[in-house]
């Protein structure tokens, strides 16, 4: 699998993402500078976490207009696979490649803690290594992860199965109103969403930071392994 990681000014989890991709693919992902206007030949484009442009104005707003974005849009239109994590998710929503928006966390504080994610379907390249209903642990680290969209959009996401992950209890129960298990207050406890063609996935927590038992576990690894399985040509 040929993966590329897009680096914007202020991106800071590109190294974490590179480690995770290296662990599963055995090869070094390409780093793509935001100022480029073309993408190399890739199977997967990753928008990693961080604070692009300082997260000033709105998280991801300025990065969504970076010179590389038209090329990413073209890649998406051609059916390319894109993973956006944390700031990457915010950028994808700001760019309109995924629906909805991410507001300040409900408690108005940055949250850096482990959370549990329930896998909503397993027939996507991002989730195929799990079973629907499986729960895995992932660190979250964000100030603006409170997912929101208008009612019609949420209904459409639900109806078409475009919710990839929800915040849940370790046993898989979801409780939107519970701050312990839906820490940032996301509507319907949504932690990750998919594009209509299921090839673009955005999520707030960081599976890439849990791919090594030394760092506390390998809970995030199936996501990357699944991508390799699905995308290797």
């Amino acid at each position: 699998m040929k993966a590329g990681i897009v680096v914007f000014p202020g991106t800071n989890r590109e190294r974490d993402m590179a480690i995770a991709l290296r662990v599963v693919t055995g090869r070094e992902p390409v780093m793509i500078w935001h100022g480029e206007t073309d993408l190399p030949d890739l199977d997967l484009v990753v928008l990693p976490g961080g604070f692009s442009y300082g997260d000033y104005l709105r998280c991801g707003a300025m990065a969504a207009h970076a010179p590389i974005m038209p090329a990413i849009r073209r890649f998406a239109e051609a059916g390319g696979h894109i993973l956006g994590v944390c700031n990457g998710f915010q950028i994808l929503t700001e760019a309109g490649l995924l629906p909805g928006a991410l507001l300040r966390n409900g408690a108005l504080r940055f949250l850096s803690q482990d959370c549990h994610l329930r896998v909503e379907r397993n027939d996507t390249p991002f989730t195929r290594r799990w079973n629907a209903g499986d729960v895995f642990r992932a660190p979250m680290a964000h100030g603006d992860g409170n997912y929101i969209a208008d009612d019609a959009t949420i209904r459409e996401l639900e109806d078409s199965g475009r919710i990839a992950f929800r915040y849940s209890r370790p046993d898989g129960r979801v409780d939107e109103g519970d701050r312990q298990t839906n820490p940032n207050g996301s509507v319907k406890a949504i932690a990750g969403v998919l594009s209509a063609n299921l090839r673009i996935c955005g999520m707030m927590p960081h599976p890439e930071d849990l791919v090594d038992p030394l760092m506390g576990g390998e809970d995030g690894k199936p996501l990357f392994e699944g991508l390799v399985e699905a995308l290797v040509r």
Binding site: P9, G10, N12, R13, R15, D16, I19, A20, G49, G50, F51, Y53, G54, D55, Y56, A107, R109, F110, L111, S112, Q113, P139, A141, G143, H206, E208, D209, D212, L214, M215, G216
Partner: protein
């Protein structure tokens, strides 16, 4: 030479306003041979401020041990540098931002983090971890909540954005910090040993380059203010607050590291306190060269800035670089790629002077040697503190169970999760032990088998009772916290926070604390490689007198694990025997038990036997290295029972405890704060105790891992759910969250 039009005439009165004494001003006149210009006076006043010149502390700091075979650069550079093996170096330092954090907690703390990061990456290191040592006023003080909120947000806001994980620290509350919180930030970075950058300028004619953010009128006279006594007036000195821009700092880190991979740099220095002045004076002074600056070339954020303002501005996120002349275009291209300002603002000369030009006028022309050599140096009078009265007989009014509950819920022991959950502790993907998981945070060195063990420690109440013991204890506790993870302690950085050095009793505390630190550093082969001094931490009492903070020599410790996979944490494992390492006499003087149960801060702090410290620690580390230890936690605030409760709360299991040491009151055994002790969980207690005896180390079996709570010798069990509920209540209640 005339000073710029419209500026204040320079007089002795003005010099005094700038913080210079009459005598110091006399020296300025004799060095200059004339009345200095306003800009020159500004330069003298900041360079001779306590903050930049260490005039009250220098003679004492020299007494600290600073060398070891693994020390590459000790104090004197921007940060300390130690050899961690495999051709790599750890570069680290701690620095205070106390006064700014009182005036504007968010920005004060944020810019404190920014400043210490620059001290570390300026030497060529990629920052890999941040820690912070915080002291706040009483939780009852209505100001405390605002300050805690701002400081924690500020530290997180800056560190999270630059993408350096915040992995540890410490927090105390005490009314002595009511008007003067302490915010000490520490950064650790990694560099290749053959690519370490220093600040001594060299090469007559070489260009001097300014990079980073533009200069504004921020924080002018910050350096002198942070050295002057702190009172209500400080709140009126406001408009000069510096605002940090962590986004620019992130770009600056990447751009500097990119430039450092080339051969362009001769010398580099961040612009810290007193910005352009101290960076240019220090770089030229260390290199024994002169420097000419052309302020017209300085990137400016505001119109009409004077030379005085530019030289004294403390705008953040700026660096000064002496560069090889044929590499300037290469350097410019790198900084332009990262969208940062880049300007050649001067060059090195053979005059031995700093010459500052602005709009066709020489605004300053000062010989550098006397500016450095004749900087004031004071051996201020000291007065001994009274010996603490012996504690005398003491009773236990509440019993063990009640006392434990009160202790683990008290401000100094309550869970810090509310705080560290606001800090990104995993960015970088190398955090092996996050906050709360081990006595020291463990960060893997990417691409190697190495791990760093990092901690900050100080027990100010011990220091107030006996500064010498307290100084030694702070060093020993840092050493112990590193040992408890299985790492080899290498070196420390310090942040010496004290009251006014003009008070003999404060100077006495300062000198005694340094003596104690020095003794411990020598005994433990744990040299000081960098540090910072913050004096004049005073607040004004309603009656007009000024009150000093508790003496607070915060210690930042660094250790290394050759094989990071061997690091252990403090969480109770699911099996094993709990063994206490180290002797217990049941010392309750200055203990948290005494404070929380009796409301007394009395008695002598626990004595510390540095030979036993070393013996116990070396033994524990060897046992961990041998794979014989499942978990380890040092015994500190609150004593053995608190240590056990912390292990249980962090782990899945509880424990069943045996009877306390006979011949000792139970509260003294369970809550005494005797030093040099560890609680370990081991699979084979027999082998462990035999090995200990052979090493001359005292041990004692405390009980067995098991159950779902702490089962006391009486048979009563305190459930883990209850422990956790009590332990985690304090911060949310304080912060109304």
């Amino acid at each position: 030479m005339s000073s710029a039009t419209g500026q204040k005439p320079v007089t002795e009165d003005l010099a005094r306003e700038f913080g210079l004494t009459a005598e110091e001003y006399g020296n300025v006149l004799s060095i200059m041979g004339r009345t200095p210009s306003l800009t020159e006076l500004g330069i003298f006043s900041v360079m001779w401020s306590e903050h930049c010149s260490y005039k009250s502390s220098r003679v004492w700091l020299r007494t600290l041990p600073t060398t070891a075979p693994w020390v590459i650069h000790g104090p004197g550079e921007n940060a300390g540098v130690v050899d961690i093996g495999q051709g790599l170096a750890a570069i680290f330092k701690m620095e205070s931002h106390n006064h700014p954090s009182f005036i504007e907690p968010y920005q004060g703390a944020a810019t404190g983090v920014g400043g210490i990061l620059r001290d570390v990456f300026t030497m060529g290191a990629r920052p890999v971890a941040n820690l912070n040592a915080l002291r706040f006023g009483s939780p009852e003080n209505p100001q405390t909540r605002r300050i805690v909120d701002g400081v924690v947000r500020g530290i997180g806001g800056y560190g999270n954005c630059v993408g350096v994980p915040t992995v540890g620290g410490e927090i105390n509350f005490h009314p002595a910090y009511d008007g003067n919180p302490l915010v000490n930030a520490m950064t650790v970075g990694i560099a290749r040993q053959d690519r370490i950058f220093l600040s001594a300028a060299a090469g007559i004619g070489n260009p001097v380059v300014y990079v980073g953010s533009k200069t504004g009128r921020d924080g002018i006279h910050g350096a002198t203010m942070s050295s002057s006594e702190f009172d209500e007036d400080a709140l009126a000195k406001r408009p000069t607050v510096q605002v940090g821009d962590p986004f620019v700092e992130k770009l600056l880190i990447e751009a500097c590291l990119e430039l450092m991979a080339t051969d362009a740099i001769v010398a580099i220095q961040d612009m810290g306190a007193a910005g352009l002045t101290s960076s240019s004076v220090e770089m030229a002074g260390k290199g024994g060269v002169g420097i000419d600056l052309d302020l017209d070339a300085v990137p400016q954020r505001e119109r009409g800035m004077t030379a005085y303002e530019m030289m004294l501005s403390e705008s953040q996120e700026r660096m000064l670089i002496v560069i090889h002349p044929d590499r300037t275009e290469l350097a410019r291209a790198i900084f332009e790629k990262w969208e940062l300002d880049f300007a050649i603002i001067g060059h090195l000369t053979d005059t031995g002077h700093i010459v500052v030009r602005h709009q066709g006028r020489v605004e300053a022309d000062i010989p550098l040697d006397p500016l450095a050599d004749q900087a004031p140096l004071y051996r201020r009078p000291t007065a001994p503190s009274p010996e603490p009265a012996p504690l005398g007989p003491i009773t236990d009014p509440v019993g063990i169970e009640q006392a434990l509950i009160r202790l683990i819920g008290c401000p100094d022991l309550a869970s810090r999760a509310w705080v560290w959950n606001q800090y990104d502790s995993t960015v970088g993907g190398q955090t092996v032990k996050r906050p709360g998981a081990a006595d020291a945070a463990i960060v893997k060195v990417e691409g190697t088998s190495l791990g760093l063990a990092l901690t900050t420690d100080c027990t100010p109440r011990y220091c107030r009772a006996d500064a010498r013991q307290g100084g030694a204890q702070a060093v020993a506790e840092a050493w112990r916290n590193i040992v408890a993870t299985g790492a080899r302690p290498l070196a420390v950085t310090d942040n010496l926070n004290f009251g006014s050095p003009e008070k003999p009793e404060v100077m006495g505390q300062f000198v005694a604390a340094i003596e104690g630190m020095g003794e411990a550093c020598r005994a433990l082969d744990f040299p000081v490689v960098s540090g910072n001094v913050s004096l004049y931490n005073e607040t004004r009492a309603p009656d007009g007198s000024s009150v000093s903070i508790l003496p607070t020599p915060a210690i930042g410790g660094l250790g290394v694990l050759d094989d990071v996979n061997r690091a252990i944490g403090l969480a109770m494992p699911d099996e094993g025997t709990l063994v206490l390492v180290g002797a217990t006499r049941g010392e309750l003087g200055q203990s948290l038990w005494l404070r929380e149960i009796h409301g007394r801060e009395d008695g002598a702090p626990p004595a510390i036997d540095l030979a036993a410290e070393r013996r116990n620690g070396d033994f524990v580390r060897q046992q961990i290295e041998g794979g014989h230890v499942l978990a380890c936690h040092d015994v500190s605030d609150g004593g053995i029972l608190v240590a056990l409760a912390e292990m249980a709360m962090a782990g899945e299991a509880g424990c069943i405890l045996s009877a306390p040491q006979s011949g000792m009151r139970p509260e003294a055994f369970w809550f005494g704060e005797d030093q040099s002790r560890y609680v370990v969980a081991v699979r084979d207690a027999g082998a462990f105790t035999v090995a200990a005896t052979a090493a001359g180390v005292e041990t004692r079996v405390l009980g067995q891992v098991g159950g779902d709570g702490l089962t006391l010798p009486s048979g009563a069990t305190i459930s883990k759910a209850r422990l956790k509920a009590v332990n985690s209540a304090f911060f949310p209640a304080l912060m109304d969250d």
